[in-house]
């Protein structure tokens, strides 16, 4: 029993992080219909910035954990957002009117560029950040126990907060309305006076910021990263986005949670060798039953 509960906790935290990154995929897809393969590497860049921010803050003699984490979050989110903007501007905007596959290849190229740029400037070695927040809550369940670190609670809290703020922005603000209008019909939106290029840029920045949020949280929790971490987590988050229905914001969060939970439960209760096989099979099964993902709108075939 305690084991199952612990696995649920593991799955929830992992899933909420997948969800945060999946948001970047799903928003970009929703608005210009492209799979942004460089998104995982944007997350990777944010992991480096996290470590750099922590190193800088401690260098300036700041010791208290809340200030460090707030400062790190602020710096990382801002710089990673700038990366999102520049990547869109350089690699994707010139291809706005080309076929979606050309953009896809450009994105793959961008992903290689980011990885190697970071490797060349920071070296190929494994990097780590010091453990800043230690301690855990322990519940006794039956004979065993469930242990949740404070860091995990922080992850859950901040990712929920991030998702909440984003949902509010998209649903209630003018910027959100502009995004949604552009997503519905780009041409129409631009006729109505929306600067769609700007909206698309904003979406890239938001996506990068969400990835940065995940980057800070994961880096603080796991402590370890290298220039290659973006790849696997990028694929997982993309899977989560598709699972939930690509283009749908709540879908990305739901997809992330389902993927995280299924991975944790399968790895923990059956076999960690085949957990990725299981995740992908689950995806295929769900897509066979619901071809547009869990919360995606079914595509209307128009003549």
């Amino acid at each position: 029993m305690d084991i199952v509960l612990q696995q649920l906790v593991n799955g929830l935290t992992l899933g909420s992080v997948y969800g945060l990154i999946a948001i970047g995929y799903t928003m970009v897809y929703g608005i210009i219909g492209m799979i942004n393969f460089a998104h995982g590497d944007v997350y990777m860049v944010s992991a480096y910035i996290t470590a750099i921010a922590i190193a800088l803050l401690t260098f300036f003699g700041i010791e208290s954990f809340p200030i460090i984490i707030i400062g790190t979050l602020f710096l990382t989110v801002a710089v990673t957002g700038a990366y999102g903007w520049v990547i869109e501007r350089i690699a994707y905007r010139p291809l706005r009117n080309s076929s979606r596959l050309s953009v896809l290849i450009s994105a793959i190229g961008m992903s290689l560029i980011l990885q190697n740029y970071v490797q060349l400037s920071q070296g190929a070695n494994q990097q780590g950040v010091p453990t800043l927040l230690t301690g855990a809550i322990r519940f006794t369940v039956g004979d065993g126990f469930v242990q949740i670190t404070y860091m995990k609670l922080l992850i859950l809290f901040i990712s929920l907060l991030g998702m909440g703020v984003l949902t509010y922005v998209i649903q209630k603000t003018k910027l959100g309305r502009m995004c949604r209008a552009t997503q519905q019909d780009r041409k129409m939106a631009s006729i109505l006076g929306i600067d769609t290029d700007k909206v698309i840029s904003t979406v890239f920045v938001i996506g990068a910021m969400m990835a940065a949020l995940a980057g800070v949280l994961i880096t603080l929790d796991y402590g370890a990263f290298d220039f290659y971490v973006g790849f696997i987590i990028g694929i997982k988050a993309f899977t989560a986005a598709v699972l939930g229905g690509i283009g749908s914001l709540p879908g990305a969060m739901l997809g992330g949670l389902i993927l995280g939970l299924s991975e944790a439960l399968f790895a923990g209760l059956i076999s960690s060798d085949y957990k990725d096989v299981f995740s992908f099979s689950l995806l295929v099964l769900i897509l066979i039953v619901r071809p547009s993902g869990l919360l995606g709108k079914p595509e209307v075939e128009k003549v």
């Binding site: 897809y29 050309s102 450009s106 290689l112 780590g128 598709v242 990725d276």
Partner: protein, 424 residues
């Protein structure tokens, strides 16, 4: 362009400053602060360099795009020409001359090239096969397949495992692997072909990963990450080894001194023949009803279905044909390398093959051939750049897409003359 274009230096300077500021934000942390354990070393010199380069580059670019030539260029990139180039009905292709020439030159390659060059060319030809296979699926049928490497792996492991477990050699596995891969294509194809565009993409990506994960995890059968060795091709039973346990070796039979290059020469010649065969088959298929159906279905699925095309069958045939070509390529890869392990079949490989198809110009056979050579030879040529190699490769990928988003070669089509009395 009738208006007089002057260069507004103020605007360019502002552009350059903004770019410089952004570059400072981007490069500042990553390039300027070198992590060392939990501490760091400041490397602000590097940042200054990079920012300076960006500022100057942006300024020059901004000025250039204000000149007449620049305006014309940006206009050209904003309006890419669409669609295929239709040739006049009486067009005589220059290919009639070029193809025999390429064949002759191609046949001479193994005898003049060094072994290293030969191996690079073999790799190039393997990617031509892969590109041709994926081109049927993505370029012609319009099904985005991100897991093509799965079929490649099936071919490669087919040879290695078939040799180990059933004693089948290169020649028997060549057709069997193609059939196996096609069969795998069918199994994957049936459930997923009703999905749309990008859902199909992620499912195929998942399929490719599943194949790789199974190859990694099922160690008792596939030897897991250790990989397994694959046999060399034989020429009527003659082996290309230095010594042979049973039967004769090639160099003993012909009384030649042993040279490991013979093996590559032979693989090259066989591969060269297979590539031409596939090219020929594909060339014909595209002109047959099935090829027309693929392209029609890509352009408008609903119209095709309402005209009575069986879309599942049409898509499935494209999937299976593409897969079998991938399987063929896998067999050659395994025999060329003499060893296969799962790390050769990662997602990056799928992306590379897709890049070949897109870069070549979707659906264009000639383009695929050129792009396949570019993308395999390029990393080798870029070896001179040592650790900057992959970075250059990535930059070239992005630049190529911006420069020629429709690929290197545009699809051409033979025009038909209107028959008298039918069309007025």
């Amino acid at each position: 362009m009738s208006q007089v274009v002057g260069i507004n230096f103020k605007k360019s300077s502002i552009d350059a400053l903004v770019a410089g500021f952004l570059a400072l934000i981007l490069f500042g942390p990553i390039v300027g602060v070198l992590l060392d354990g939990y501490e760091f070393d400041a490397e602000f010199g590097r940042v200054a360099w990079m920012v300076a380069v960006v500022v100057v580059g942006r300024f020059v670019m901004s000025c250039f795009f204000q000149t007449e030539k620049g305006v014309a260029m940006s206009f050209k990139y904003a309006n890419h020409d669409e669609g295929a180039k239709v040739l006049s009905p009486g067009h005589k292709s220059k290919m009639v001359w070029i193809i025999p020439l390429v064949i002759v030159v191609g046949l001479l390659v193994p005898f003049i090239a060094s072994k290293y060059v030969l191996t690079v060319v073999i790799l190039g030809l393997i990617y031509v096969l892969l590109g041709l296979g994926l081109n049927i699926v993505v370029g012609l049928a319009g099904l985005l397949d991100l897991g093509f490497v799965g079929f490649y792996a099936i071919g490669a492991y087919g040879l290695a495992l078939g040799y180990e477990n059933l004693g089948l050699g290169f020649w028997s596995m060549l057709p069997i692997a193609a059939i196996l891969a096609a069969f795998a294509g069918a199994i994957l194809g049936f459930p997923v072909l009703r999905m749309h565009g990008d859902y199909l993409a992620i499912v195929t990506l998942g399929f490719g990963e599943i194949i790789r994960l199974i190859l990694t995890n099922w160690a008792s059968f596939t030897h897991g990450p250790n990989g397994i060795s694959a046999p060399l091709p034989t020429l009527f039973g003659l082996e290309f080894k230095r010594r042979s346990k049973d039967g004769d070796t090639f160099h003993e039979f012909f009384n030649l001194p042993y040279d490991s290059a013979y093996k590559y020469m032979f693989i090259y010649l066989v591969l060269f023949a297979v590539v031409w065969a596939v090219l020929f088959v594909k060339h014909r298929l595209v002109k047959m009803p099935i090829g027309r159906a693929w392209e029609a279905l890509r352009e408008d699925e609903i119209a095709c279905r309402s005209l009575g095309l069986n879309h599942v069958l049409v898509k499935l045939s494209a999937f299976m044909l593409g897969a079998s070509t991938g399987g063929l390529a896998g067999v050659f890869f395994a025999t060329y390398q003499g060893f296969v392990n799962p790390s050769s079949f990662t997602f990056f490989e799928s992306a590379l093959i897709l890049a070949i198809v897109v870069l070549g110009g979707m659906g264009s056979t000639l383009g695929v051939v050129i792009a396949a050579f570019c993308l395999t030879v390029l990393p080798e040529v870029l070896r001179e750049f040592a650790e900057y190699r992959v970075l250059m490769f990535g930059i070239l990928m992005v630049v190529m897409m911006i420069w020629k988003p429709r690929g290197i070669v545009r699809v051409t089509r033979t025009g038909f003359a209107a028959r008298k009395g039918v069309v007025k």
